[in-house]
Amino acid sequence: MLMKLAYKSLMNRKTSVLLTLFSIVVSLSLLVTVEHIRSQAKASFNRTVSSVDLIVGARTGQLNLLLYSIFRMGNATNNVGWDSYQAISEQRDVVWSIPLSLGDSHRGYRVLGTNTDYFEFYRYGDKRQLAFADGEAFSNPFGAVIGAEVAKALNYQVGKRIVLSHGIGQVSFTNHDNAPFEVVGVLAPTGTPVDRTVHVSLAGIEAVHMPPSQLQALQQAVTEGRDIDVEPATITAFMLGLKSKMSIFKIQRSINNYKQEPLMAVLPGIALVELWSLISSVENILRVISLCVFVSAILGLTTMLLSSMQERQKEIAVLRAIGAGPVVLFVLIQLEALLVTATAIGLSLGLVWAVFFGASDLLASHYGIFVSTQIISTTQIIQLAAALGVTSLVALIPATSAYRKALHAGLGQQ
């Protein structure tokens, strides 16, 4: 009954209530969005790589190395010699190594040259191995394995012939038209940058950059089933899996002091933490801003309720006359405030959900952040409960005003 009264009373002041509601929806949407992106980005970053002990590349910043090797963002400043790669990966403590060769693209998706160890040893999320949704790993220089999103977005299936371009733009001027690849495998979705990658063999990357005559010879050899060893001169980076965690620092030191070539090795976990701390300061600023917006919206709600108290003096007298105590009036005003905020919570969750539903592709392609539309999380619930708490706290002002009016004004209408 009180709820109905609160609702009707709000509807009676539709315009000001709707405006207030709108401002709270905006502020809560901001809060919810920031929190959702934060948690999703963190999860998305952290799940991208697992079980990789070291990432090795040319000497650069550790963030830069992490970004281009794992997240396929930005470019390497320099390459790693094939000899160095072989020398390091043959060390005793190394169990597996995955070479990475970047720099080409296919219709805006990065092309990664690697070997079949990639499909065997690369882990993401909770130490999960890459799985094939269709087809299998490449076995010749012209086989390509595409990520789930590439397959979906470009509508590619196994057997599709594709062409790689040099450079990483969506539109490239130098298409390697004379090196047609064939899709031989499609990976299952991972929710990591792997989904957005076209994987080919290192030989394939070499083939792309071969002069036509050499390329034709290679194609000839492949069709005839002859085995031709195409060794790259350089690769972009490589990942290492070690026998024991104890040897990580030893190997890292030896790579960092590698005489033949300036190299660096980073621990992905540590680089991720650094990446994260960089992002979290931005995220904290966003949080503070959205919190300020929220507080001002709630103050707007209070102002609206408080200014309505004057015109509601007679209403209070009527409610008093039919037996409502001061506490009832206090509760009524609280209910009105909470009703507005609760409605705003519902609306903003819906709004944010819709936005992420629409924008998840954009976020993935531009920022490498894989965002789920599952907005509700424990933190989110705590945050929204806190929003209700703040509302109730700030609504103490008009509610107390109603209480006092009820207590002192009496039933007279003068």
């Binding site: 009264l5 007298a317 009527v318 039919i322 007279g412």
Partner: protein, 236 residues
């Protein structure tokens, strides 16, 4: 305490050594002794500032007297907590004001239902009794049943005042306190209103305390009291 059926033979209102002042100032009300017998219709008049609304607030239990005793049908309001007095008012006293009696954004029926809700009638069987009683009272006050579902702000003043009586009587209160209910009505509507009020009070066997300064209404009542005669403090 509230659930005890109030005895009919007791005085409707009994005031003894009643004194009231706002925040320790001089007394607004000082009534050594006054009684309204059960079932009587009493006309209380006095100039403005004679303490009429203060007395009304005291009788309704909204204000607490500085000293003395107020009994309504044998129940001592002065011994109840504020919450108990609110409850008592909801169940046993119907109040009709000068003008603003209804919440404008609720329908007529919702306004009246709210009054029965505050009297603690919340179950579905209460709901059925409520519907029945509502229709009886609406008929008794010559209101059309269609009016029930209209927002009360759409009603004329005369209709609103009649709805206010329905609202005041919905919980079968033993005492009806009415404060200048006709001041916003023209003379035809006023006479009509007074006749309906009297007949419905008789029908419901409610005691009536009618506060006004309009002496032309005096003829409708069993007893009349000049507030200046019983209130030695003489108002503000």
């Amino acid at each position: 305490m509230q659930n005890v059926q109030l005895a009919e033979q007791q005085a409707a209102i009994c005031l003894r050594q009643l004194r009231f002042s706002y925040d320790g100032n001089s007394d607004v009300i000082n009534i050594p002794q006054w009684t309204l017998e059960s079932g009587q219709k009493c006309f209380v008049f006095g100039a403005s500032g004679a303490g009429k609304s203060t007395l009304m607030n005291l009788l309704c239990g909204v204000l607490k007297p500085t000293a003395g005793d107020i009994q309504v049908f044998g129940q001592a309001l002065t011994k109840m907590s504020a919450r108990q007095r609110d409850r008592f008012r909801a169940k046993h006293i119907g109040v009709v004001f000068q003008q603003f009696n209804l919440i404008p954004y609720l329908t007529v029926a919702e306004n009246i239902r709210l009054a029965s809700w505050f009297a603690g009638k919340t179950t579905s069987s209460d709901d059925q009794n409520f519907q029945q009683r509502l229709l009886e009272l609406v008929a008794a006050l010559q209101l059309k049943p269609e009016v029930l579902h209209r927002p009360s702000r759409e009603l004329s003043v005369g209709q609103q005042q009649r709805v206010a009586i329905v609202r005041a009587l919905i919980n079968q209160p033993e005492l009806l306190i009415v404060d200048e209910p006709t001041s916003a009505l023209d003379s035809y509507a006023r006479d009509n209103f007074m006749q309906l009020l009297m007949s419905v009070c008789e029908q419901q066997r409610s005691s009536l305390l009618f506060v006004s300064h309009d002496l032309s209404l005096q003829s409708y009542f069993d007893v009349d009291v000049n507030l200046a005669d019983i209130n030695t403090a003489g108002g503000q």
